[in-house]
Amino acid sequence: MSIFVDENTRVVYQGLTGSQGRYYGLLNRDYGTKVVAGTNPRKAGTDVDGVPIFATVAEAAAATGATASCVFIPAPGVRGAVLEAAEAQMELVVVITEGVPAHDEAFLFNKLRRDHPTVRLLGPNCPGIITPGQCNIGITAGHIAKPGGPVGIVSRSGTLTYQALYELQQQGIGVTTCVGIGGDPVPGTSFIDCLAAFEADPETRAVMMIGEIGGSAEEEAAEFIAEHMTKPVAAYIAGVTAPPGKKMGHAGAIVSGGKGTAAAKMEALAAAGARVGQNPTEAGDLMVEIVAGL
């Protein structure tokens, strides 16, 4: 089992004809992902290395049975691309694109919740999602993830996600699904959405959570862990020593007015019963201990 995607997920790539879309789309296909279509209104009828290109997501879905989309469209076009995918009733829309305006993210979140409640938006500005051995949508290097579980990963940071996957693989620990929710102010999918899905997934028996400074998503996740999670959680928060008021790369990673500090997040997670590591390696070691005790 897995969450959100598996070997049956059929994916249409919005922006497959662009350089990034083509590169990662074909890498995803090589991994085994069912990359069934691409879209580009000006290139409908052509193909990218055998993957047919359609004018719209709706046409691609009708012709290929795609149920998920992956967006590699540049930031100015993301709002339109996500609405198009939602109107075509995609179950999952994964937006890799970074640099999307926060107002667009807030608009999309509310628009989808109201008019397309069955659509799950992941991202923007995220590495994507991988169910190792079955389906890899996005820019995660597939071979650093060991299939099979028992660990589920949810992370706000790209490279730290890879680091976590790699450390678990080195220790011989498999992963059910690894979800990168992205580091932007209003992500489509939250920590809580993923924690709830992992809690309900019988194959996932422990969860690794990687957060960072800024906002209160980790504190909200801690509340959820305390009230609803029976499965053990190991966590790491990046940005312990970040100075207030400075944006650390991600639009969401900023400590303001004393809120959103790593210390507060770590404290909340520890109080909720999660094992909290001081650095990624320590969090990996904690997960090794947890898995050994399962």
């Binding site: 990046a238 790369g249 390696t281």
Partner: protein
Amino acid sequence: MDLFEHQGKELFARYGLPVPSGEVALSPSEAVAAATRLGLPVVVKAQVHTGGRGKAGGVKLAGDLDAVRGHASDILSLDISGHIVRRLWIEQASDIAEEYYASFTLDRSARKHLGMLSVEGGVEIETVAARDPEAIARIHIDPVDGLSRQACRQWVQAARIPEAVAEAVAGVLETLYRAYVDADADLVEVNPLIVTSADEVVLLDSKITLDGNSTFRHDDYASYDATQTRDEREQAAHAKGLQYVGLDGSVGVIANGAGLAMSTVDVVNQVGGRPANFLDIGGGANAEVMSNALEVINNDPAVRSILINIFGGITRGEEIANGIIEATGRVEIDSPIVIRLDGTNAAEGRELLEPHLSDALRMEPTMLDAARRAVELAGAGPGQDLP
């Protein structure tokens, strides 16, 4: 990206929002000329990207031109929380009867816009919130619906704004929200929003932060970007398109990915060192980007050692190793470099680096080992006395 008060007021004025007349002045004589045109009395206001101006002596009322010259001269070059005053806003003095507070920002946990309104303006809103949270009327705005005049009226009533100015304030809020959305602002704050003794509503201050991600749809952002205050290192990195934040330690940090770069800064601190910066070179690590990063760090005189922490995902270890080798050949580096290379094809990458290793270019197997080595090489830096 933060705007100066006058830039914010000029933006408000484009929406027909009531702001006092004023002019920018860069010297005492320009201040006097501006005051002459505007008519006395005027207020001389420091333009800085930080709060607490009033307390620091950065806002002064002037009743005559000698006072204008004197205040301008005092305020220019004033250091306000590390920000040196380089420009002034000379503004017609307002007759203040009441001071309110109004703002719009994005509430990340509610995933909606948040409006805050209070009759207790003129002081820091955090102070009001701590003393009497009831004194702030909050409204969550669904970005799909926007903010109607009717919703503004109810909001104004909830904030107990007096009847005489209620409709005027509601109108200002409705327009202010439109300006906030149109500008793609992270924050629009007016404190104080004043009422004059003639019951006129005026926006007496402005604090606006814009979302850098929205630059592509705003031609005016370029002019605001030009007036940002950055330290020299940040300016150089910004020009090269690098994600850089200056810190005050001696270990230069280069990593790929924001999370890993943040984590590297943390680990340097945890092993008793002090990072000189946060620098994210993004997903790849080609020679071009790596040389730019090394150059920026090398120009920081406080740097005593450099820690390169790379995790190869899609980018393979060999490509990263070649990038580092080529970059260190291109740029003359003054400080020893410690590399940690892990991830995809790390073994092959390390093998490529092996023949280039020396006292000036070292390699360590893990992030923690590399951080320890870099801190040790930074020597008796400012962080050495930390536990």
